[in-house]
Symmetry: none
Subunit: 417 residues, 2 copies
């Protein structure tokens, strides 16, 4: 199956937003073994969209459009598909009812332009939108499958997952190429070239599953993949390779597939029936926010304190004023006192703390931008790690929270041994 | 001048990296008034690159390729341009000398494949690379300009700045189109279709500047743009249109251009020399994290409490246990007590609180997933707003923090009146 994507929106061509939808769709298609050969961006212009669609239809089996499904006149994706396939738009009665209900539940009244979103090309289907008002479209036309999904990333992701990928998996399986089975091992605390060295012979000898390394910010991923009509056999081969890699890489493997560091930490806490509290200075709440991104985290996360001002460190967390006077707020003693303080004040089994200089301002020669102390207080005592990570403010917050969670993960594991 | 970009690299089509080069090139072209109508990604495949190049040459004045200029066999951009223009590759003697020197200075010896980078299509120019080994290419062919620049972002940016944009500015000025001037108004608390209705006559009558609406999660943007050789005149027209739109849309306009809600709130607090503290349940730290995404936020942000467990609400924030027993943690009285509690315990001028059900689990018929109470406590008293926003957990957190910050923004403004 050959695929092609088209992201629609003038804001992309002006560089106002980055096309992260294309990245996500690419990853998801790759994961199910669909070959993506072209991606395009066009603006809110019907003639240019039609031209790109025509070329895509002439060579691809699957076309995934994103964006341009809104209610206004410059939302042209519906018209583009209707035009190129010669299928006039028809209003869907069930979708009209759904839209009315959606607005009523929010105490609002839809305008006439909203109902444009309830139209599908003749013979096509509307795809339900579980997080917004714009339904997607699915049209089969002369052997090609055309999907149109919304531009806002959360809506795009959900619709791709629920309405696009299952259809593609079914078609791939029916066409007999066998399904693609894959697994991703996620590694912390180790660089790509070190992983490559440790696995040199395994990578050279790879056949089924194949092995590929990817470096992303703050982690390295190893992707195992193989195509097979037989799920049990494929799973067995993936299991065997995973076991071999875990033997080589040990605790660097922190999670599988979609699980992120906060998922891994949550699982460990849940298994041990243990609770967590966070104390943050430089990460400003992002650590707590990542922990609570996991549904059900209220089972183990009691709460956190963002102690930006020194008064909050002293008054709420009970950091001794003398510690800050003597060592400063960005120091190992302060990080330790914060972790211990939040553990105590929230009554948690584990306390994690961050204090550092996120920048771009606030650095000094002794304490430069990027300096951070991360502490973990637990049943067996408190540890602290110092790091310096220059980078943007966003990057710094992401990296520090990743490393602090990994430090916690390793301490929880060590505590049980 | 009509332009088109092509990013070359299989890693893009697999979603291993996001095409931020395309975003940067788009921004830079928009800033000098070059109309970018298409962007494409193709993999390291000569046939498919050639196909896309052929189409681009048939309709565009300027084509900017990025990536595929490295020394290995899968770097195909040079061959693609040579093939489509019928101009064989010629080795450039000066570039060969430069490359030998570059390697010698680093104590290394170039391999034969490195010299591939010294080849340009006949009649074309090599563009100097100030941060790496791969030179870029510039070829004029039948009236079209083809630029090829490297994929690594720092090299791409420098070559674009030094060798591509100056040539385009010169051509644009010669052709008399003028520079592009633009401004973005960001709106809160109003949907795209409502904005469209309020501005119907303005949008229909648009000439210079042009007006375009974009909906992104939690906000609507209005982009004004006009081309002019005269900066003062262009600015005057943008100012006049902005004034008209502000008259229609009032306090819905919360910021301009790159400023986000947390920037707008930060500016208001800074102007008034006021301080802020946050108390979060369902947003789990994201509210504090957004506030602290702004460099310098330590000037007005004192700290926050993520009171996930009821004990934290009672113990740290001082929410009366009776309030939670009687009304529940997700209730207006609890939200009010949290906002007032954090304002008191951090000693801040303003306290903002969120409590709700982020889902996907935890909902009941009386208190469904998506229900949230947001409260703002300030010098003039406390207000609270109830909303229900079904959606994913991420979306919920984003929307609630956006709305809570907007509620705070409106209260700060009202407080001064």
């Amino acid at each position: 199956m050959k695929a092609e994507t088209i992201s629609v929106g003038t804001e992309l061509l002006l560089g106002e937003i980055t096309d992260t939808n294309a990245t996500h769709i690419s990853q998801q298609l790759a994961a199910i073994g669909v070959d993506l050969y072209y991606r395009h961006n066009v603006g809110d212009n019907l003639q240019r969209l039609t031209g790109v669609l025509r070329t895509a239809l002439s060579r691809s089996d699957v076309i995934v459009l994103s964006g341009g499904l809104g209610p206004t006149a410059d939302d042209i994706t519906r018209d583009g598909i209707a035009g190129i396939t010669g299928r006039p738009l028809r209003r869907d009665a069930a979708a009209v009812e759904h839209l009315k209900r959606f607005f009523a539940e929010r105490g609002r009244v839809p305008t006439e332009s909203n109902f444009k979103q309830c139209e599908a090309p003749e013979g096509g289907k509307l795809l339900p939108n579980t997080c917004g008002t714009a339904p997607g479209l699915f049209v089969e036309h002369e052997g090609a499958w055309i999907f149109a999904i919304p531009g806002p990333p959360p809506e795009m992701r959900e619709m791709l997952r629920l309405s696009v990928l299952p259809r593609l998996v079914e078609r791939a399986t029916a066409e007999g190429g066998g399904r693609l089975y894959s697994r991703v091992l996620r590694l912390a605390d180790i660089g790509e070239s070190n992983v490559a060295n440790l696995l040199e012979d395994v990578i050279e000898g790879q056949t089924d599953p194949t092995i590929a390394l990817y470096a992303s910010p703050g982690e390295v991923k190893i992707r195992l993949a193989g195509k097979s009509p037989d799920e049990a056999a494929a799973t067995q081969r993936l299991d065997a390779m995973e076991a071999l890699l875990r033997e080589r890489l040990g605790a660097h493997v922190y999670a599988l597939d979609e699980d992120v560091m906060e998922t891994a930490v949550g699982k460990l806490l849940r298994e041990r029936n243990a609770t967590l509290a966070t104390a943050e200075s430089c990460t400003g709440g992002l650590l707590a926010s990542r922990v609570t991104d996991i549904s059900g985290s209220s089972d183990y996360f009691l709460g956190g304190v963002v102690s930006y001002a020194n008064e909050a460190k002293i008054g709420v967390l009970g950091v001794p004023a003398g510690v800050i006077e003597e060592h400063g707020a960005v120091s190992e003693p302060c990080a330790r006192a914060m972790a211990e303080g939040v553990r105590r004040c929230m009554g948690a089994d584990w306390g994690v703390a961050t204090t550092g200089i996120a920048g771009p301002t606030g650095g000094t020669p002794e304490k430069p931008v990027g300096l951070v102390y991360m502490a973990v207080a637990g049943p067996g005592g408190t540890i602290c790690q110092e790091q310096t990570w220059p980078g943007t403010r966003d990057q710094f917050k992401q990296r520090v929270t990743q490393m602090a969670l990994n430090l916690l993960r390793k301490q929880i594991i060590a505590d049980g041994e």
